[in-house]
Symmetry: C2
Subunit: 210 residues, 2 copies
Amino acid sequence: MILHGYWRSGAAYRVRIALALKGIAYEQVTHDLRTDAQASDAYRALNPQGLVPALEADGDVLTQSPAILEWLEERYPSPALLPEAATDRTVVRAMAATVACDIHPLNNLRVVQALQRDFGLDAAAVQAWMARWMGDGFAALEVMIARHGRGFAFGDTPTIADCCLVPQVYSAERFAVDLTPYPQLMAAVDRARALPAFQAAHPDRQPDAG
Amino acid sequence: MILHGYWRSGAAYRVRIALALKGIAYEQVTHDLRTDAQASDAYRALNPQGLVPALEADGDVLTQSPAILEWLEERYPSPALLPEAATDRTVVRAMAATVACDIHPLNNLRVVQALQRDFGLDAAAVQAWMARWMGDGFAALEVMIARHGRGFAFGDTPTIADCCLVPQVYSAERFAVDLTPYPQLMAAVDRARALPAFQAAHPDRQPDAG
C-alpha cells in the first residue's frame, strides 16, 4: 500500500492515524503542498484533483480522506473505527464531517494562500479567519463529545471522529487558536494522542517532516 | 421523519434527493439561513452546530448531510445509492466528498457572508471566488465521471455522488459559473434531473421557496 501525502496535510494525517490503528503497513510518497508538486501531470493521472492524500491499494487509487477512511473500515474491519449501531455510526460520521466539511476546508493551505494572494490578507487576518471557523466547529464538537464521549470523542475506543479531530487540533495549536473553551474535546484529544498509533502518525514523525 | 432544512441549502437538497429516491415520506421544518433563525437556542438544542440539515428519525436527531446519506443507505438499503464493490463505493464517496469537502464549504452562505462583511468583497469578487473553487472541483469530477459514469456520475443508476452533484450545479447555475468545460458532468446531471425524485427535491418545489 502506498500513501501519497504530506507531513503537514491534515487530511493525510487522518489516514495515517487510521492505518496505524488498524496495524496496516504502507509506504509513503510525499508531495510538497507548498510548491504545487502534488499537481504534477503524473500525480494528476493518479488523482485528478491533484490533492493529497491518495492511497494506492489493491491495484486502485483511492482519493478523498473521508472515502479512504470508509474503505479502510470496510476492508479491514478490525479494530473497528465505527460503532455498530446505525445511529451511533451517524454520530461519529457527523463529528468527522464537522471537521472534514466545516472546519478544515476553510483553513487548508490552498485556501489560505488564495486569501493572502487574492485579497491581500495579512497574517493577523488569516489567523482570525482560521480561529473563527475552528471556533464554530469546536464549539459544536464540544457539545457532541460531552454527550457521546466516554474517554474518546465517541465512546471508549478511537473512531474516525478521533482520526479527524486530532489533526485539526494539531493545526489549531500551530496557528495559536485558543482551545481553553473546549475542555471535553481536549480531554478526548489528549487521550487519543497518548496512544502509540496516534504518535506514529504525527507530522513530526514522518520521513518528509521539515 | 422530520427534515430541518431550507429550500436553497445545498446540503439539505442532497438529503431531499436521497429521501425521494428511497421513497421515504417526511415532513419539513424550515430554518431561514439568511436570518440566523437556524441558530436559535431551540434549534441548537437539537443540532449543536445550528446548521441545516438535521433529520429527526427513530427518536434521534441526525446531523451533517454526508452522515445522514450514509444512515439512509444503511437503514433503507433499497434502492441502493452506493455500489456493492468496496472500490466502487470509495469512488462514489470520493465524488461526493469532492463536492461536500472541497467545493460547497467554500461557497455556502455563511462563508460568502463572512467574505463580504469581513473583507468587503463586492459581488464580482464573490462570484470569482465561487467560480474558482467550483471550477477546480468540477474539473476533477469531469475526469472521474468520464472514467466511471455510464449515464449517471457513477455507473447507470443514481448514487450519493448524484445527490451531491446536482445541488452543486444548481448553485453554479445560480451564480453564473461557466459549465461548458464539463460536458460529461453536465450529461450526468441532466440525466439525474430528468428523474421525478430529483425534480421533487428541487429548491423551487419546496414549501418554503421564496
